[in-house]
């Protein structure tokens, strides 16, 4: 049996070794030889702080009580790491690009750097982690007491003293190595290396004990399987609800636990390490859990009455394997200490950044101007926080009486910290998540956790009486802490996880949907959710020595390369330096800022230069002002653009209207001059011949001749006026048509007869196909005849063939009948074809026929009124017109 003193000696030696390793690692890092300190192996091993004393000792006890269920605690984290592409990779990238220092910082930063959320998460983390730290202290003291060989006789008071010593020692280590530097990126090489070493120790210890149990106690794997099947945990009694809930719970806790966030995100040195840890860490967990069931089964056989939580220690001791027991003790010690150290660092960072610093800055009211000043305050706050966190853990252990199965406390703690999950996942995947939603979800989830799981865990006490547990507060049965809303029979953990997560997520979603985020919140939201679009694998801090170069790069972007270089060269030579990089004196900065202001405006230039030349130069308020200004200008310019487009459209419309009016005015002028010309010609001859008649006596023959001329001219004038009147009536639509039944043949007959009687001397042969003309019509026969007469007489007048001939053809086109008038003249030139239907248009100046050019215009109006049309038919022998009459009216006559 190993004496208590030897045990203490070994422990102290081990602790001294850890101090030495941490110290050496810090020294190496200080010299810049990071090398293997930042290898994927160290990263993976540091993740193993997930496996605490709870899993080192507790997993075996858990397996001895409920069989295979213990494995869920490992399956969750294993799935998270296998699914690194979803969450872990994104968290690490965000952590690096946003310089995140803790999970509280991540939540607060995502939701517009809200300190309220930082405080909530910090408080939640402290309350959730304190029992866990107590658990570690308890397991270490228990393992001490096992070695002292008087577990039952040892008083609780003595255990408390051991716990106090352990807590003090851990506080010392954490303060020494956890608060050495105030790095912007918060990396602790010494601590990480030490916990990596501890990870190796606990793995080796558990594997050795496992191998001893399988091959030393039992006769190899086959025997173990037989033993398992014969043991009391052999039966397959998986509780589905617990199985699924615990996998979810452990997966969520793996992401949300402050200490896990610390090693996974904050201490991460390279994103590529995550890819390797994605399989290496599951492998580590598998090895850790491989021998849990065998150890539990052998322990149940060998030491039936003892605490199964300590089988890992008690089996080797019972079999006289002192060395193995010592290794196992060191494994458990490592598990406990590494967890406490990292948890204390993570919590102290959160407490100092989100609770102490805001209070301190508020108390100073802007008096903190010296940077060294703040630095010391932060470090002191962290050291005190570490001490306080460990003291809290110790006090919890002291007052809780050190009872309870390890696993139960572990699960309670897990359920508390996973309340951060909705706000966390919502924050990195959903831009619509708002601060109000996150705060509501966190507070509600936290409250339900405390009410349904944390407070009842103290049992019948002053906090929650047995009566309240059984009947609900004030006898309201649906508010019973273990059967919310009357749902009974659920396992307490499943019950608490279910209700807290459902209500937490619900409050988070509804709160986010109903509220509107602040500008900074939206900015941060976009940067978090779209982190892969904005950043590459983030480089380290750029040192401030490169300021002038940075300024040059920025100015080149704004001013253009040549101009910026000239400006910088001028400034450099003004300072007596060669090259392009002057010293960044206030004068130079001022000049540059003015120069840039010409391009981008004063506020932006101020902010941009400030960002490079001095970190504290620019505040968020400045940036917001710039953004507001820009937004206003953009909106104004958008408005202007819209207005100018509208004006442009109006101008085009006006121009079109003006053109139309001008054209109409020209038309009117032309019409008036045509009319007066047409009227004046006959009037002139009438006046001239009347004067001759009045001037004196003349022969009878002359008198007759002159009065005939006057008469003819008067008739022509009358006809012109008639035509004008007719056209005007037709155009105004005042004409009344005399619809009657008739036949096309009759109408044509009438027209041909009329034109022959008024024969103006020239002979015109008219060719007709009378067989086809027998088409019945309902139309205004007189008007239709007027059209035909006009066309025939036109042919008679204008056909310039030697033997003028006009053929009248009848055809059918779908619903219409066509009447073509084709003569053998030279036709109408193409250029004139489009104008022949206009008023006063005459193809030639030969006014021999004395027409005023109104005939075809009248024809077109008549045909419109009759529902048909008249068009010029090109490509015929000579001049050709086609009259189209709707056949529907022809049919109506049948």
């Amino acid at each position: 049996m190993i004496g208590f003193n030897i045990l203490v000696l070994v422990s102290l030696t081990y602790v001294a070794l850890l101090f030495a390793v941490a110290f050496a690692a810090e020294k190496r890092a200080e010299r810049g030889e990071v090398g293997w300190l930042r290898s994927p192996l160290i990263y993976t091993l540091s993740l193993s702080i997930y496996a605490t004393a709870w899993t080192f000792y507790g997993a075996v006890g858990y397996a001895a009580r409920s069989g295979l269920e213990f494995v869920t605690i490992y399956l969750g984290p294993m799935l998270v790491m296998v699914g690194w592409w979803w969450v872990v990779r994104k968290l690490v990238r965000i952590g690096r690009s946003q310089r995140i220092t803790s999970i509280a910082d991540l939540i607060s930063s995502r939701y517009g750097k809200s300190n309220l959320l930082g405080v909530i998460v910090t408080v939640l983390a402290v309350i959730g982690t304190t029992p866990y730290i107590a658990l570690q202290l308890q397991s270490v003291t228990l393992s001490f007491s096992v070695f002292s060989g008087e577990l039952t006789a040892l008083k609780f008071e003595d255990l408390k003293n051991t716990a106090l010593v352990v807590a003090a020692g851990l506080a010392l280590f954490t303060i020494l190595f956890g608060t050495r530097t105030l790095d912007a990126n918060e990396r602790h090489h010494g601590v990480v290396t030490a916990i990596a070493l501890e990870a190796v120790v606990k793995l080796v210890a558990l594997l050795t004990v496992g191998a001893f149990v399988v091959w030393g106690v039992a006769d190899g794997p086959g025997d173990i399987v037989r033993k398992i099947e014969a043991s009391k945990i052999a039966d397959w009694n998986l509780q589905g609800g617990r199985w699924a809930t615990l996998i979810f719970l452990s997966a969520a806790a793996f992401i949300c636990l402050p200490r896990m966030f610390q090693v996974m995100v904050v201490e991460n040195a390279d994103e590529r390490h995550v890819a390797i840890a994605s399989w290496a860490f599951p492998l580590y967990l598998m090895l850790m859990s491989l021998f849990v069931i065998p150890i539990a089964v052998v322990g149940l056989n060998l030491l039936p009455g003892e605490n199964p939580d300590l089988y890992v220690l008690t089996i080797p001791l019972a079999l006289g394997q002192d060395g193995l027991a010592m290794l196992s003790f060191l494994g458990g010690f490592s598990s406990a200490t590494s967890m406490v150290i990292v948890a204390a660092i993570a919590l102290s960072t959160m407490v100092s950044n989100h609770i102490v610093m805001p209070i301190w800055l508020n108390a100073r009211q802007g008096g903190a101007t010296v940077s060294g000043d703040v630095r010391n305050v932060v470090l002191r706050a962290r050291r005190i926080s570490i001490g306080a966190v460990l003291l809290l853990g110790y006090l919890y252990f002291h007052f809780s009486g050190g009872g309870g199965a390890l696993a139960a406390i572990g699960l309670i703690s897990f359920t508390g910290v996973v309340q951060v999950l909705p706000a966390l996942l919502g924050g990195i995947f959903w831009r619509g998540a708002t601060r109000v939603g996150a705060a509501l979800g966190l507070i509600l989830g936290f409250g339900i956790w405390a009410y349904t799981l944390f407070l009842p865990s103290f049992g019948d006490s002053f906090i929650m009486s047995a009566a309240m547990l059984d009947q609900g507060p004030f006898g309201i049965s649906w508010l019973r802490p273990r059967a919310l809303f009357g749902i009974e029979g659920l396992d307490p953990v499943v019950h608490a996880v279910f209700w807290s997560m459902v209500l937490n997520t619900g409050a988070f979603l509804i709160g986010s949907l109903l509220t509107f985020p602040e500008p900074l919140e939206r900015l941060q939201g976009a940067q978090f959710v779209n982190v892969f679009e904005h950043s590459r694998n983030a480089p380290g801090w750029t040192s401030s020595a490169a300021e002038a170069e940075d300024l040059l790069i920025m100015s080149q972007r704004i001013l253009g390369a040549a101009q910026a270089q000239a400006l910088f060269q001028r400034a450099a030579s003004g300072q007596g330096k060669a090259g392009y990089l002057p010293d960044t004196t206030p004068d130079f900065i001022e000049t540059l800022e003015r120069e840039l202001a010409g391009s981008v405006g004063a506020a932006t230039a101020h902010a941009m230069v400030g960002q490079i030349a001095g970190g504290s130069y620019v505040s968020v308020r400045d940036l917001m002002a710039v953004a507001d200004e820009t937004a206003q200008i953009m909106e104004y310019s958008n408005q202007l653009e819209a207005k100018s487009a509208e004006l442009g459209r109006a101008a085009v419309q006006l121009r079109e209207a003006n053109e139309k009016l001008t054209a109409l005015s020209i038309q009117k002028d032309a019409f008036l001059s045509q009319i007066s010309h047409e009227l004046r010609t006959p009037m002139t001859s009438i006046r001239a011949f009347s004067e001759i008649l009045m001037s004196g006596p003349m022969s009878e023959a002359d008198q007759t001749k002159f009065s005939t001329i006057i008469h003819d001219e008067a008739i022509r004038l009358t006809r012109l006026l008639d035509d004008l009147l007719d056209l005007s009536v037709l155009e105004n639509g005042q004409v009344t048509l005399n619809w009657q039944a008739g036949s096309l043949h009759d109408v044509l007959e009438r027209a041909v007869a009329a034109t022959t009687t008024m024969a103006a001397g020239r002979a015109l042969t008219i060719l007709r196909n009378e067989a086809l003309e027998d088409v019945a019509l309902v139309t205004d026969n007189d008007r239709l005849a007027q059209v035909f007469i006009n066309l025939i007489s036109n042919a008679r007048k204008y056909c310039d063939a030697k033997k003028p001939r006009l053929s009248i053809g009848i055809g059918q086109q779908g619903e219409a009948v066509t009447v073509d008038f084709v003569d053998n003249g030279s036709g109408i030139p193409r250029a004139s074809q489009s104008v022949i239907f206009e008023k006063f248009s005459r193809v030639s100046d030969k006014s021999q026929a004395g027409g005023a050019g109104l005939g075809l215009a009248i024809c077109r109006e008549i045909m419109d009124k009759l529902g048909g049309s008249i068009t010029y038919l090109p490509g015929q022998e000579g001049t050709a017109f086609r009259v189209t009459l709707p056949l529907a009216q022809a049919k109506a006559a049948e």
């Binding site: 799935l79 052999a234 397959w236």
Partner: protein
Amino acid sequence: MSAPPNTVYLERRTYRRRRMMDAARLLPVLGVLLFLVPLFWAPDPVQPAATARGMAYIFAVWAGLILASAWISRCLARTESGADAQEQSR
């Protein structure tokens, strides 16, 4: 990380890389399904001692997921460093 949105057809290597990302996303889903399978095992009334078999199943799935994850992350890491080198040389 993401190609210009107007690219429809990707180079073969990039295409393979995208599918590897899909595989990395799907693997945990597969893991969840496989680990929920034991819930459907009805207790065998004749031979109720099934913990040993359950353990064998769990650890087999576990090992399979580790191998798959190792293979995927190796492929992704290799193409990523290749892509980085390419972009820097541009």
